[in-house]
Symmetry: C2
Subunit: 228 residues, 2 copies
DNA sequence: ATTAGCATACTTGTATGGTAGTATATTTCA
DNA sequence: TGAAATATACTACCATACAAGTATGCTAAT
């Protein structure tokens, strides 16, 4: 039932972080269905650990609204809430627009060439249809912009927002990604940062993050049981 | 050593939330000094609860970067990090600027009159020098704007950012608050929302949240032991 | 047949014991 | 006297036992 990536176990993680990572991964990839019951005991047996680190992982996941804990009753995987999804997108859009403007003021050569290298790899992955790696490169691209602008905590927040955005993206089938468009937008963002053109950078970023708004209502009807 | 507000205990909170609230309150008000050692056992004895709910409260506080946990070594109250403080301010500024623009599009009459009533009370508190209540009204003012704009999660984030902003404000003595200025800005924000003038609202909000940048370096030298 | 009451099997919340790693003080030896 | 070895007292981490609330299904009485 659970997709267990044991690699995470060795990385000198604590048991708590191990459980957290496994559960988060399975939730945001929809391998565990929204609304599904999940109990501390069940997970502790599946992962062969005690209830204590499982509970602590639950606390973190509940804080990120990926779990809903009802004392003495049970715990469920959070249902997809379109209002919540839109707010997550809104938060991400405005934080990244502000961040990319900062990137246009100070951005080191090292980070700039990191972006350039990333773009080359994106191009290669599109040619090779390596979507898993593209997904990772997409994340890295945005992470580099945030870190290059000295906004490490904004990157943490973006990841939290992505958890909620990702579930609805998963429903609309991976095929829905227009990677050519994404790459062209990434290229324009890179060019704007290099040219220190804050207005252009922000405009492209806005366009880039507004398109996450799409066909939500259709999905909601098709997968009604996953929605609040 | 700890300021324990037992009122929080009765509010049908779980023990975990009780411990969390007490600790958070004491940390952001500087009643516990940044850098100070703190242990699960110590807190569990002080609050007369077991270590389990204390640990779980620690998990939440560490996630918000108010605690730093070093396995098998110990836990300290996070030192004040000026880079972190500025990033918190930055996040708050940009989220609230975006939110107040939304408020200028749709804002219910109920929320609008809530803001108006809040402003009246602010005026009264300034006359009576009731700063504790002013502090609460200030928070409520911003909360009402967020909730009235349907951005409940942004309010949660603002509160988390405030935790870090507040510690440095506490250092600069409460007297430093120019409540007359704050009130006049609040009035202008209210007027802009009422007039649905998004540009004006955002401009005032920007001004309102940029002034949190001040004399940080001086404080850092004066209270060196509290800083990273 | 229906319903009230109870037993049972869940759930999460809390308390506590033991483990392993770390820092520090003390002892022991050169 | 000084330094290495050891004992001790911490720490957070994890496992487990118990408590308390809840849902469910069975039994028994009407």
């Amino acid at each position: 039932m659970l997709n267990i990536d044991s690699n995470k176990k060795v990385k000198n993680f604590s048991t708590r972080d191990y459980v957290y990572e496994i559960l988060r991964e399975n939730i945001i990839s929809l391998k565990i269905e929204p609304g599904k019951n999940i109990s501390e005991k069940e997970i502790s047996e599946l992962l062969e650990v005690s209830r204590t680190p499982v509970r602590e992982a639950f606390v973190k996941l509940a804080q990120e609204e990926l779990l809903e804990v009802y004392p003495q009753k049970g715990t469920i995987i959070a249902l997809i809430d379109l209002h919540h999804v839109e707010e997550s997108r809104f938060i991400r859009e405005h934080l990244e627009r502000a961040t990319v403007r900062v990137a246009c003021e100070n951005f080191s050569e090292a980070h700039l060439s990191q972006l350039e290298e990333n773009l080359h790899q994106q191009k290669k992955c599109i040619e090779e249809n390596d979507f898993a790696k593209l997904f990772k490169l997409d994340e890295d691209f945005h992470k580099t912009i945030a870190y290059g602008s000295g906004k490490e905590r904004i990157w943490t927040l973006i990841q939290q927002m992505n958890a909620h955005l990702n579930r609805i993206r998963m429903l609309s089938l991976a095929a829905n990604y227009d990677w050519e468009l994404i790459l062209s937008q990434h290229k324009r963002i890179y060019a704007a940062i290099k040219a220190k053109d804050a207005n252009a950078a922000e405009a492209v970023m806005e366009e880039h993050l507004k398109k996450l708004l799409f066909e939500q209502e259709k999905l909601r009807q098709e997968y009604q049981q996953y929605f609040k």
